[in-house]
Amino acid sequence: MKGKIIVCRCEDVTLHDVEHSIELGYADIEEVKRFTGFGTGPCQGKECMALIARIVAERAGVEAASVPAFTSRPPIAPTPLRLFARDPAGDPDDGAGSEER
């Protein structure tokens, strides 16, 4: 049954996949992300992160609030390359766009 419970819709990750990752020792939320691929699709974790953080916390026997989200990656939403290509920060000699996210 756990192999049929989808916990990340973008990448078809099941509850079983998440539990298998934790059993192997890949139990940190960053490790679970890499081992199962959850949160690496179009939603970038916006739909699935809270649910999987709760599973990770339960298995580790800690409060859900103590499991941090995995590192969020820009851009905020999927964005066409042509829009970035027009950005003035694309001139490498210009100092624009140097803020870190």
């Binding site: 990656r73 390359l81 970035f84 290509a85 950005d87 694309g90």
Partner: protein
């Protein structure tokens, strides 16, 4: 995605304490440390502990573009990489882990006569080493990648036997097999100090306890200098941030990794269908920061869309960064530094350690287990940068991206 068997790989998670002693402690569970651990264990030296301060794939081994190529400018690197490619081909079978290795080739694009002659010189060397690489004109490049804009393209070098892999499972495969053979892997175990024992050997102190070790190997990539300082060894290496990004998945259309010499642009299509790529940014100051910047994404997008205009409508899903471990002559630093016998270095791979790791791990393990000492361990030493013999090593100038 689902990988692996029902084996507990990570001792930290199972609550196991560090062992009191080990023959070899490897600091850094990146691809280099894990490849060395797997290969030493395979050769019978299983009393090995691998430490990492974070999780597997947290450093540059989990942040690179997965390219594996034989197009290099020194004969040594061409021959080493030819062996590494063969090892990548056999990896899934030998280590029982699918690393999604795909030999779609590497296409290097030149935009000037000078760049063309640079490629021609390398191609001549590579062909002498038996690599099936060839020069192409602009039209020939478009036969390989029909979507290319030929505007300003002066020529290209194409080797069909280069390829790409998915970096993360490579680490898990090495970790799983090394563990099965008896290697102890402890992640989230930062090394905080190393005592050099007067009678030989070391005590490696971590936040989770100490391990006595006959030998220690530093394979911490861009962080290697922090560890070598603990035994009084200063490295001439420095970290440079390289950013990279991934698009939404597309139907497979792009066979090779494509790289533009003039900008350091590189991109390939992963087995998941994403376009994964990066570009060089000029005048970058040394940093271990892994923050992401709009400056990178805008410059990358500009270069990529001008080369393949049709990609303009493809969406970027995410960007990230990792450090290159730069060395003064573009070659790695290996072996025992002067004055600290039993302490081994494996760093300075200038952003290409991942593809070198299969062969370097094998060669290192041969040496550490009493077998042959390959010439790289005599050539690529720390003391080549000082005193007699300094500057005798052929400079590798084809570190692209």
């Amino acid at each position: 995605m689902a990988f692996g068997s029902d084996l507990v790989i990570d001792r930290t998670r199972s609550g196991e304490p560090l062992p009191e002693r080990a023959e070899l402690v490897i600091i850094g569970a990146g691809v280099m440390g894990l490849s060395i651990a797997y290969n030493t264990a395979k050769r019978g030296l299983t009393d090995v502990v691998v430490l990492d301060r974070g999780y597997l794939a947290e450093g540059a081994s989990g942040r690179n573009g997965g390219g594996v190529r034989q197009q290099w400018s020194t004969e040594l690197n061409v021959r080493l990489m030819a062996e590494s490619v063969e090892m990548c081909r056999r990896f899934a079978k030998e280590l029982e882990f699918n690393v999604w290795f795909r030999q779609g080739g590497y296409l290097f694009l030149a935009r000037s006569a000078a760049e063309v002659s640079r490629l021609e010189k390398n191609v001549e060397l590579q062909r002498r080493c038996g690599i099936p690489v060839r020069m192409l004109d602009a039209e020939g490049a478009r036969d390989i990648v029909p979507e290319l804009s030929l505007d300003g393209i002066a020529g290209a070098a194409y080797n069909p036997s280069d390829g790409i892999l998915f970096p993360w499972p490579f680490l898990w495969g090495y970790a799983q097999q090394a563990t099965k053979l008896g290697v102890k892997l402890h992640t989230f175990t930062p090394c905080v100090g190393i005592d050099v024992e007067p009678g030989g050997g070391f005590v490696v102190h971590t936040e989770r306890g100490s391990v006595r070790a006959a030998r220690v190997l530093d394979a911490c990539g861009a962080w290697s200098g922090e560890v070598s300082c603990m035994v009084g060894v200063e490295l001439p290496t420095w970290p440079i941030r390289h950013e990279i990004c991934s698009s939404e998945p597309l139907k497979p259309f792009l066979r090779p990794m494509v790289s533009e010499l003039s900008s350091g642009l590189y991109f390939s299509q992963s087995m998941r269908g994403e376009i994964v790529g990066g570009v060089s940014l000029p005048n970058e100051a040394p940093t271990l920061s892994m923050g992401s910047r709009l400056k990178f994404l805008a410059h990358y997008s500009r270069r990529l869309v001008s080369l393949i205009p049709r990609l303009g409508n493809v969406k970027v899903l995410r960007q990230w960064a990792g450090p290159y471990d730069m060395s003064p002559d573009g070659n790695p630093i290996l072996g025992e530094p002067p004055g600290v016998p039993g302490f081994f270095l494996c760093c300075g791979f200038v952003g290409h350690g991942f593809m070198m790791a299969p062969v370097v791990g094998k060669l290192y393990a041969e040496w550490l287990t009493g077998g042959d000492k390959h010439e790289i361990f005599g050539l690529h030493t720390l003391d080549r940068f000082h005193g007699a013999g300094a500057g005798d090593v052929a400079k590798e100038d084809f570190n692209i991206g």
